[in-house]
């Protein structure tokens, strides 16, 4: 299936831990994104990569570090997790000027 897939779907972990979320798209898109959706459903962009180059970097704590090994992958690593990091994280991809395609989200819960 052509899609944006992210793993894991659910992530429950302790405060202070380091965790990664992986994202892969097989749509041939050249741009990938990470969004955070809070408990009120508000979506905020965090990062965007075009052809492995960082093009959007919103005001995000530097505990969050995206890594794009190739055009089809954009992973999100989070250090020293805090309670406020609990949210749903969405990966998306697009081709220039085209709408974004979203993954199903990763539900991160910090204990």
């Amino acid at each position: 299936d052509t899609a944006v897939s992210q793993t894991p779907k659910y992530l429950v972990t302790q405060m202070g831990n380091d965790k990664s979320i992986k994202c892969e798209q097989n749509l041939g898109h050249d741009t990938m994104y990470w969004y955070k959706q809070d408990s009120k459903k508000f979506l905020k962009i965090m990062f965007s990569y075009n052809n492995k180059e960082l093009i959007i970097n919103e005001t995000v704590p530097n505990r969050f570090s995206p890594k794009s090994p190739d055009k089809a992958h954009l992973n999100l690593h989070i250090n020293s997790l805090e309670l406020g990091d609990s949210a749903v994280y969405f990966c998306a991809s697009s081709q220039q000027n085209q709408p974004q395609h979203f993954g199903d989200g990763t539900r991160l819960s910090i204990l």
């Binding site: 905020k44 709408p99 539900r107």
Partner: protein, 114 residues
Amino acid sequence: AQSVTQLDSHVSVSEGTPVLLRCNYSSSYSPSLFWYVQHPNKGLQLLLKYTSAATLVKGINGFEAEFKKSETSFHLTKPSAHMSDAAEYFCVVRKSGGYQKVTFGTGTKLQVIP
């Protein structure tokens, strides 16, 4: 700068009646506008997009939206609601051209009553 305002956080309709979800945008340039739907525990799915072609845009599942520049609006409508339409709907604005950041509205939760 760009912004988008979804005027209603919740909309409740009876099955078979029309749906209207309101969206107003603000931008200092020619925008692209989108509507996305999010079903529970799912990602966002594109319903329709406006990119400076026809002002009345038809999307999937019977939805359509009309771009009205004079009113800076892009309201989403459907003639007859189905139970399966119950979801969260997001209006999105983006500057046309290039790799531009998108701005999401705060969402409208649509409830469909049987």
